[in-house]
């Protein structure tokens, strides 16, 4: 065990810091990142392209496919700096989800076709797993794919598909045979969103925004070369991916950044002539969260270190997901508490400045959307079941 930064690490930290400070458009981010509109898409893609050009877009990938080859410490430093400056993480669907599945289970042709465009953010991916009847019990999914000659014919309905409205491609779990054990008979298919028969319907969430969708498939032809691995074995690939997804949802750096903003706002918000940050009760609320986050930072580091040795993360990723989302939600709850009356105002055409708090609206949106963090990526109840079974062995 050795947890000290070397001189090289410190030099790396300076390099990351300088790059972020010089290249990230903080003003633009402030305007659009909360917005989830087309402007959001173009801003985040532009940023990801900068990371790509720098060679830093895929720290988690093996070097041969475009990864950075960083040490665990370097990855930790990169995330710390990202959190410190409040820079958003890359959109996960391509880089953290389907990318690893393709380089792990895909064939050469698929790697050549898809990986470069994921790295360069030229393709936007979305995740087509959940269905109306298959949420926590994902394996009961019904969307069917029948092989006819060189194509699968796909029929069915996916739901809660994040950013399907922006997507060029969707990776789907589909049923290719009706086996007794429902986990068998599922396949992993990559589907071009421009295929005839694919349609997307928006779902507005309680934050008032549009990030979710229904995706409908009506006799959609998907060439057989878009099947990952073997037919009927998709569940195995999906499970590997879910573990990645969960570890990613810990979002430690983002919680760090949100906590930093919260402290700044609490210092600026005055009550009875004194900043809220000076209120001992609010301080206790803050430190309840911050101490948890400090522990989680090192839990994540330990997980990264064991991944560096053993490859795939195991069921511990469920632990990161639960703690990470609970902390994230706790921060958003405090932010909403801080903005008090103003948090409820939908400013509409009003200049947000007229409401006194320019961070109130973000606090409301983060809180509302943040309720989903304990639902998506496998709900926190289901993660607890996983830990009970896989880790505790009960």
């Amino acid at each position: 065990m050795d947890v000290k930064f070397t001189n090289d690490d410190l030099a790396f930290r300076d390099e990351v810091r300088t790059f972020f400070e010089e290249q990230f458009d903080f003003d633009l981010a402030k305007r659009v990142l909360n917005d989830k509109s087309g402007d959001y898409k173009s801003a985040i893609v532009a940023w990801q392209k900068k990371l790509y050009e720098k060679g830093w877009i895929a720290p988690g990938w093996p070097v041969e496919y475009g990864g950075t080859g960083w040490t665990i410490t370097q990855r930790y430093i990169f995330e710390c700096e990202r959190g410190r400056l409040g820079i958003p993480d890359a959109v996960p669907f391509g880089l953290k989800m389907v990318g690893p599945v393709i380089y792990t289970f895909g064939n050469e042709q698929q790697k050549e076709k898809f990986l470069p465009r994921i790295l360069s953010s030229d393709d936007w991916w979305c995740q087509g797993y959940s269905e109306p009847g298959a949420g926590s019990d994902l394996a009961s999914l019904q969307t069917s794919a029948e092989l006819e000659g060189e194509n699968y014919i796909v029929n069915g309905q996916k739901v809660w598909t994040t950013f399907a409205q922006f997507a060029d491609w969707i990776f789907c779990l589909v049923r290719t045979s009706k086996e007794i054990r429902k986990q068998q008979g599922i396949s992993f298919l990559l589907i071009d969103m421009k295929s005839p028969g694919v349609s997307v319907k928006p779902i507005i969430t309680i934050d008032g925004k549009h990030s979710l969708n229904e995706v409908l498939f009506e006799n959609v032809k998907v060439p057989i070369e878009n099947l990952i691995g073997e037919q009927d074995k998709g569940w195995t690939y999906a499970k590997a991916l879910l573990i990645h997804e969960r570890a990613g949802i810990a979002e430690v750096a983002d919680s760090r950044s949100n906590l930093n903003s919260l402290k700044l706002h609490a210092a600026a918000e005055i009550s009875g002539g004194a900043p809220i940050l000076a209120d001992p009760v609010f301080q206790m609320r803050l430190s309840d969260v911050e101490t948890e986050l400090m522990a989680l930072e090192y839990t994540e580091l330990r997980a990264l270190a064991s991944m560096a040795e053993g490859g795939m993360p195991g069921p511990e990723s469920s632990f990161l997901k639960i703690k990470g989302t609970e902390i994230r939600q706790a921060i958003s709850e405090l932010a909403l508490q801080l903005v008090a009356y103003y948090g409820g105002a939908l400013e509409g055409n009003l200049d947000p400045g007229a409401l006194g708090h320019d961070f109130a609206s973000k606090a409301r949106v983060d809180y509302m959307y943040g309720r989903a963090a304990s639902i998506y990526g496998g709900s926190n109840e289901v993660q607890r079941n996983v830990i009970a079974k896989m880790v505790l062995g009960v």
């Binding site: 926590s136 507005i204 309680i206 005055i270 009760v281 909403l336 008090a340 009356y341 309720r371 109840e381």
Partner: protein, 383 residues
């Protein structure tokens, strides 16, 4: 002691329930929120016909002479329908400030207009910097002949956009944070120099920022005594907190009902999700939270207006404790309702998230749980 509703109270309760069933389902409410006024004048007229606008007013002004319990009964039911009409701003804030004041001329002029539904009011107490300190006031009024000249701005004033008249808090003497030196003035919304910028709140209700630029208000429009407006406010706040706590209770009980029935019909892993103990325990905790909230509301109702019988400190302790328990319960019940509904709970189309938003607004009104817990501590643990 008796916790049963009287026959009259049962009828009152049922009239609100029936109204919501027939005229105020979730889709009808959505249409109302989308309308230009942001509330339904039609529904308001019905409230007047059904006598709901008259409940807390004395008979000599045409009121029903009802009790705080009667108000709580109506509010609990209104909570279930998430009524967006300005009942709290008009009847309970504007109206009760009038009722609590000694200004008989203003009372006879305005209370009948509230009761017949022709007049809306609002209470502008919040300023950008004041948060939960209701006597932190910068808006100033200076005397000129028979008038006050008012300058300043109020923020997030529920109901102000549609109000015919406002009661505002102004500083007539002392410094920004002083309890003394606050005066309440009643003024018509269309007075020269009053500017209102309305917007919608997440709970579907309308609020506004209101600015005052050399607005002239006759001295005869003072409510309570000059410089002693804090007393009147301190009499009003418990009443509003009790009413909105009853509203929160109504919302929480609907959320629990909806969540339980959803969990019984939603199947995953070949069984209703209600069969999973992890969820059962949460639903039980939420059931207990609602029962504790109801007990606390009753305790608060008993304490209110009983300063003579009990010590004033005991009454206040009960009210602060009520706000603490009900805010905490509201947060957990609302958030768990979303959680147990899964993805469905996150949709704007379903009512669940909207109930959560109203609960959060209620929690904030006149101080959140931490604020009231601090007040409770101040009264309880003197060293």
């Amino acid at each position: 002691m008796n916790f049963k509703l009287s026959e009259e109270q049962t009828m009152l309760k049922e009239s609100v329930t029936r109204f919501i069933r027939e005229r105020y389902d979730f889709d009808q409410r959505k249409q109302i929120i989308k309308s230009e006024e942001g509330y339904s004048p039609d529904c308001w007229a019905t409230f007047a016909e059904l006598g709901w606008l008259s409940i807390p007013f004395a008979e000599e002004y045409g009121g029903f002479g009802g009790t705080i319990e009667d108000v709580a009964i109506v509010m609990e039911e209104m909570g279930k329908g998430m009524i967006v009409e300005p009942y709290v701003p008009t009847v309970l804030m504007f109206g009760q400030l009038l009722a609590l004041s000694q200004n008989n001329e203003l009372k006879s002029e305005y209370i009948p207009k509230i009761i017949d539904g022709s007049y809306l009011g609002a209470f502008a107490f919040l300023e950008r910097q004041s948060r939960y300190e209701i006597t932190d006031i910068r808006t100033k009024a200076t005397v000129q002949d028979d008038n006050y000249i008012v300058n300043g701005e109020k923020a997030v004033v529920y109901g102000a956009g549609n109000a015919n008249a406002l009661i505002i808090t102004v500083r007539t003497s002392g410094e920004q944070f002083d309890r003394d030196g606050v005066t309440l003035l009643l003024l018509e919304s269309d007075c020269p120099g009053v500017e209102t910028k309305p917007y919608q709140m997440m709970d579907g209700q309308m609020a506004a920022n209101v600015s005052f630029n050399n607005v002239s208000v006759p001295q005869s429009n003072v409510l309570g005594s000059v410089d002693a407006g804090a007393e009147l406010m301190e009499a009003l706040v418990p009443l509003v907190i009790l009413a909105t706590s009853a509203e929160a209770l109504g919302i929480m009980s609907v959320l629990n009902e909806l969540t339980i029935s959803y969990a019984k019909t939603r199947n995953q892993f070949g069984a209703p999700i209600s069969s999973f103990q992890a969820l059962q325990h949460r639903m039980v905790d939420n059931f207990m939270a609602v029962e504790q909230s109801r007990s606390m509301l009753y305790r608060g109702l008993c304490a209110y207006g009983e300063e003579e019988a009990e010590t004033p400190i005991e009454c206040l302790r009960s009210l602060h404790a009520m706000k603490v328990i009900i805010s905490k319960s509201a947060k957990r019940v609302g958030e768990d309702a979303v959680q147990i509904h899964g993805g469905m709970g996150m949709t704007d189309e379903l009512n669940i998230g909207h109930y959560l938003k109203r609960l959060i607004s209620i929690n904030t009104l006149f101080g959140d749980a931490d604020f009231h817990q601090k007040k409770f501590n101040e009264l309880s643990y003197k060293t």
